[in-house]
């Protein structure tokens, strides 16, 4: 893909993908497989790496794919393509939101969307928690720990996440020693 193609490849996907996250990885895989110039295996590896590193998934996957095709500037073109659609849309909406968010109809609109968002997150959380907790107590400790540290004690998320990972590594070491 040329720089321009890379830019528009991610621009197109980003402009129609709501919510980001895992959804965007699926879209990229689907579209890239259609093109067929990256091996399936390689693509799965990139997606897997993007998912195990921090940062918006749209950003990490577009960087990896861009660099794979055209080096540094390929990465830049791909990332710009991925972030421009949401950036432009929010930039245009921001002044409107700030100006009109106290109007009753606008407030009502947000209240409705939030009720629906609650339902969407709740169903995601339900499935996800069931999966995590069914994997045994190993997952239970970091699961509770990260919630308590950020939600209750307001510890900086970076340290909270680090500590929750350290707990798991420590637990693994102890089990192996036995």
């Amino acid at each position: 893909m040329s720089l321009l193609e890379l830019f528009f490849f991610f621009f197109r996907i980003s402009a129609v993908t709501f919510g980001g996250g895992i959804v965007i990885l699926g879209m990229v895989q689907l579209e890239a497989e259609k093109r067929g110039d990256i091996g399936r295996e390689e693509l799965v590896d990139m997606i897997s790496l993007a998912a195990s590193m921090p940062g918006p998934l749209a950003v990490s996957i577009s960087w990896l794919v861009g660099v794979r095709y055209r080096g540094f500037w390929g990465g830049v073109a791909a990332v710009l393509g991925a972030i421009l659609p949401p950036f432009i849309i929010i930039l245009l909406l921001s002044p409107l939101i700030l100006k009109y968010s106290s109007l009753p109809a606008v407030r009502g609109f947000f209240r409705g969307v939030l009720a629906g968002t609650g339902a969407i997150i709740a169903s995601v959380v339900f499935d996800n928690t069931k999966k995590t907790l069914s994997a045994g107590w190993f997952g239970f400790v970091p699961f509770i720990a990260v919630m308590a540290m950020i939600g209750v004690f307001h510890i900086h998320p970076f340290f909270a996440i680090l500590a929750s990972i350290a707990v798991q590594l420590a637990a693994e070491k102890t089990v192996i020693r036995k």
């Binding site: 972030i83 930039l91 997150i121």
Partner: protein
């Protein structure tokens, strides 16, 4: 410290901690823009969440652009959005340089370690919309429960949640204002 530098620092931190992507980023953003800096109230934050759910793009980018704009206009939104993206890319480059090839086992292992952490973050991400909805009265709470049923049984909404949200927005404008 000028506002632009503060925005860069805050959103770079969010970028570097944003494991799992999507909704699990929400508690991190809330920690930084509500709890620690006080830039937004809880209600403002819920509004940012609502906007990001009905516009395309990752929540973190939507939030960076909006909060940046609110705090420091166009340059604020640019600074916040770019630092949110550049920080994790820099980290990704460092990791790839150090490891040369990231083996499948390593990224599997990293994902396994992150899974329960991301689950915990997801539970936290439920708090802002639930708090807002609880404060918006019985019709809003009813809409929430109806949403659970719709997502369970209606394929169209399950596959296009933003369609449901737009409908909910319209209902909200009519009955929740």
């Amino acid at each position: 410290m000028s506002m632009l530098l503060k925005l860069v620092s805050v959103f770079a931190q969010i970028g570097i901690c944003a494991f799992g992507g999507g909704l699990s980023t929400l508690p991190l953003i809330e920690y930084h823009v509500v709890t620690s800096t006080g830039w937004l109230t809880e209600e403002d934050f819920a509004q940012v969440l609502a906007v990001s759910q009905v516009t395309p793009g990752p929540i973190a980018i939507n939030a960076a652009t909006f909060v940046g704009f609110r705090q420091a206009g166009f340059w604020g939104s640019l600074a916040a959005t770019l630092s949110l993206c550049i920080a994790p890319i820099a980290l990704l480059c460092i990791v790839m340089l150090l490891l040369e090839t990231v083996s499948k086992e390593k990224s599997q292992k990293a994902k396994a370690l992150l899974r329960p952490v991301v689950s915990g973050l997801l539970v936290l991400s439920l708090i802002p919309p639930m708090k807002a909805t609880a404060g918006n009265g019985a019709p809003a709470i009813l809409l929430f429960f109806l949403g659970l049923v719709l997502l369970k049984f209606c394929r169209t909404f399950r596959e296009n949640p933003s369609l449901m949200l737009l409908l909910y927005g319209a209902i909200g404008a009519a009955v929740l204002s």
